[in-house]
Symmetry: C2
Subunit: 346 residues, 2 copies
Amino acid sequence: SRSINLAVIPGDGIGQEVVAEGLKVLSAVLPQDVKLETEEYDFGARRYHATGETLTDADLDALKRHDAILLGAIGDPSVPSGVLERGFLLKLRFAFDHHVNLRPSKLLPGVATPLAGEPEIDFVVVREGTEGPYTGNGGTIRKGTEHEVATEVSVNTAFGVERVVRDAFARAQARPRKKLALIHKNNVLTFAGHLWTNVFNKVAEEFPEVTTEYMHVDAATIYLVTQPERFDVIVTDNLFGDIVTDLAAAVSGGIGVAASGNINPSGDFPSMFEPVHGSAPDIAGQGKADPTATVLSVALLLRHLGYEAEAARIDDAVAADLAERTGKPARSTSEIGDALAVRVAG
Amino acid sequence: SRSINLAVIPGDGIGQEVVAEGLKVLSAVLPQDVKLETEEYDFGARRYHATGETLTDADLDALKRHDAILLGAIGDPSVPSGVLERGFLLKLRFAFDHHVNLRPSKLLPGVATPLAGEPEIDFVVVREGTEGPYTGNGGTIRKGTEHEVATEVSVNTAFGVERVVRDAFARAQARPRKKLALIHKNNVLTFAGHLWTNVFNKVAEEFPEVTTEYMHVDAATIYLVTQPERFDVIVTDNLFGDIVTDLAAAVSGGIGVAASGNINPSGDFPSMFEPVHGSAPDIAGQGKADPTATVLSVALLLRHLGYEAEAARIDDAVAADLAERTGKPARSTSEIGDALAVRVAG
Ligand SMILES: CC(C)[C@H](C(=O)O)[C@@H](O)C(=O)O
Ligand SMILES: CC(C)[C@H](C(=O)O)[C@@H](O)C(=O)O
């Protein structure tokens, strides 16, 4: 019989509330014969303040034993900027080699967009997750003085670039439009840019059916607001991916519906799924958070574990729910979760 | 009697056409007693192909003698990516220490925006121009092999950050709303991020009337499409500035109207003014390019040289011209230039 052994990290702020709804929908969608086991982990601001710990080796050992991880949100204004980001979120992505950071953007019917007209938006960003300017390489000398120098080193390897580019080509190949755009800034960041461009062009030869284009990151932000329908699959580095996926989320319905997967395609370590939004401490504990992004992250999780039919049922339920929202009074976090659970079960 | 000794760099593609209109409007707006001298320089793809040169020491010596530089566009698909960007554009910005890269965004009446509703957009980005990931530091080992490693080093100094942050505070102080946002990614790029944040907070103490906020670059892209009216002055690093100013241009009427100044406030070297758009080889030589961004760059140039009244006349002429465009047949590059020249003279 089948089973899913899930690590659950509610985290900070609205993380608790949205993860509860994600699990509700997950339970509702799974067939009877699939045994769902969940173990909750206490990470984030509370634990940091109590123990000074963000993510220990023992934590990593424990997390490693799960099939996948569902994360709500990590971050709180009471913790200095960077501590939980570098000490937990990025540490986990690097430790579990989550090199494919997958972020789909689809503007669903009934969903508001800040863009005029009715753009058709349906693309997926494959963001590199373990290299680039995110490695933490760099340093500071003469800190706090007028002679301070701070560096950040973007590290890019053929190994790291090729595996994520190959993943993106395979995804483009599997989609009807078969288009792939590389986003970088190879006219200025010429060392990293040439590596990315050369690897991209080399792998392209193995995928003759995929139509490719290259675009500078600055130009890409223009296209994302003027011609978002142009995109099918995008592959890009860690930092550019961070930036363009927030913009992509904004134009395709907001971060309330933006899901993401931090994927290790080899399966050597569990992959992690999380909404793109943060912990939103201003609305935490009030039942105001929209759990949709977390529920869509659960769909990515199921798809990753091979439950394609169940993932599709969640996607359909979310689409149907969003299509009926216009003009209705706002619902609470758990009301939205309940409605989605009913739909996926039905 | 007063005089302006201008270096003119038409450059590649539509650069030639738009610069001609910029000069036309400049001549028309200047009072009789101001003597305008221009010297044209041949830089860009043609010269690179003919001589292999992009910008020599002798070129820099010659350019240095001018009061300011007007640039059209540099770049052509026949030249490998990075050669003219690093070899000309960035070399000039670094050689002349253009550390304040000024990019105003104002959505003028009658101008189309990809955003729904009628957002009020009127802000200016102060982009650092001589540091960050643009320094060209970094390198490649094992090039072309499966073991290639390419690095890019972002270099940030207290000296470099403080002068541009101070410039931005002064600009915010001089504007009615007196708001300044720092855009960075200090939760991930903690070395550079802490330097930027600390310097920003320190300089803020000297400007108690200025309201400040900090925003991660990813979140900033969301606000730029959902709440652009939120911004008054933005200060940010070289790469983030490159990205957010293209997005800012897109939402506030497109790169057809986006002007920029590469400014050395000390006056030790001439400042350079250029449209944000590139050389657009696909429409070059057809009289289709909109010279408005170049004309607005001429206004920035005049303002920088102390001709505030003349700069304002150009801004007003452009606003009036744009307001009357809707529903009219498209005009050629020189027709738009003629119309603006008539308005500023009138
Ligand atoms: C919180 C932060 C470390 C993170 C990132 O920059 O990757 C977030 O912005 C994201 O996109 O998941
Ligand atoms: C052409 C390129 C070097 C340049 C930059 O990245 O600064 C351009 O994009 C700009 O914004 O002026």
